[in-house]
Amino acid sequence: MALLLEFLTTLKNTVIDVLPILSIILGFQLLVIRKPIPHIKQVGFGFIYVLIGLALFLLGLEKALFPLGKMMAKQLTAPEFIHAGEQVLTNVHWSDYTWVYIFAAAIGFSTTIAEPSLIAVAIKAEEVSGGAINANNLRISVAIGVAIGIALGSYRIVVGHPIHYYIISGYVVVVIQTFFCPKLIVPLAYDSGGVTTSTVTVPLVAALGLGLASTIPGRSPLIDGFGLIAFASLFPIIAVMAYAQLTQAKARQAERYGEKRKRIKINKRSLQPKKQESSKNPIQDKKNR
């Protein structure tokens, strides 16, 4: 019963959050476009499903994952765990926090895989690209990016470097990659930076940052606690472009290998070469077209 009540409260809050979006859509649909919404029944049901789903999801997070994740972040950053009973903390060495970095990477990866907005974008990308971009591979690359980003961000909090050096060098890497990366993936890669940090990732990551910044001497939780989210939205861009570059390189290699084999065949049997082998990589394929 209490659970049901909690669910209804969460549902009410979700509806309130969605209300401005809904009113904008309806307002423009009725006043500007002035046409009935196509498949109104289906769309309406879809909206209701989204609301129920989001409310259930948030309630489940609140009940199970957030308390656990926050508690673990606190325990892992607690001085008792790291310094094993040493009471006086004078200077910290970054390598004392190895478990924190591993936890940061692991939680970054796993929360990103479960992130609903990323799932949405990945589904759309697979649909639009006609399957050339695999939704699961895209999500895994983004998750790897987030994992690296959050681990590096925690390292930054431990050593206390200013954030903008990291972010600006990240930008430089993004710019360089943009020039060498298949053009088809660039907008999607940029987008994947923004979508990673929403419902699941932000609260857990914020707890980690806060826990770190409040236990390390000389760090202020208010100033150093911020910034992890920025890391988590920069590194997926790099990871997705790297993924595209890797598949492109692999396709080129496969092509070269294919040509070699063809040549051997021709030499051996002196036959006409068969129909040219198509490229293994659809991204590359599309680009050539």
């Binding site: 959050d17 401005p20 979006i21 904008i24 476009i33 919404i37 196509p38 289906q42 769309v43 049901f45 879809g46 909206f47 209701i48 499903y49 989204v50 789903g53 989001l54 259930l56 999801f57 309630l59 997070l61 609140e62 009940k63 199970a64 994952l65 656990l68 673990m72 892992l76 692991a106 990866f109 895989i113 479960a114 609903p116 907005s117 949405a120 974008v121 589904i123 759309k124 990308a125 639009v128 954030i163 903008h164 993004v174 943009t178 053009k183 088809l184 660039v186 907008p187 940029y190 987008d191 923004g194 990673t196 940090t197 929403s198 208010l222 100033i223 150093d224 989210i229 920025a230 939205s233």
Partner: protein, 245 residues
Amino acid sequence: MNRQFLVFLKALLGSCKDLLPIILVIAFFQFAVLQQPMPNIGDILVGLALVVLGLTFFIYGLEMGLFPIGESMAQAFAKKGSISWLLTFAFCLGFGTTVAEPALIAVAKEAASVAASGGIISDTLAAQLSYANGLRFTVAFAVGLAIVIGVLRVIRGWPIQYLILGGYVLVVLMTMIAPHWIIGIAYDSGGVTTSTITVPLVTALGVGLASAIKGRNPMIDGFGLIALASLTPMIFVMIYGMVIS
């Protein structure tokens, strides 16, 4: 009905798979690293079941409701051919979805207490509230503007790289002149603006627009709206910081 149930079951299985990494990570750290028993396991199992069910419903409804409405509106606007209405819609969508975003409200409140303890604004509740609200409206305005620029980009077919790179240059320049206490908040505000409902809608809008306009590739031109929406808030929050001090 039976077939629909099968589809639902398949989606449920997919959600379980999506959640598996989190469960593994938490179990590993709890038992192997921290070596502690799991506290109130019953609550956690119920919560996990809710998360799986919620994710399934969300994705199910996404493809039924959110994606179609985003695309049909984009197509309707393209057919109507009125750019000014389309841009108004884009701004409203960006502004309206961001100003009410719970994550942003939380971050703005926290930022206000940072500013108060740092002596940037006076340590009264009213001052903090006005600071937090200012931050919120700044970010919402920035997102609205970003969607407008993004839609304009889809219509004109500008390559996204130049816009983003230009934005990066602006961010770097602003970082040099903005007060240092705003920088962390500004960088983070880019990430928190895009919520779970906004992202599918905006993506569908971009892709729908790019497929409705002749000569645009939905893959190259349709994506990129969210990237802009997470870039402009950084710039505008830094401007806000400069204005305040």
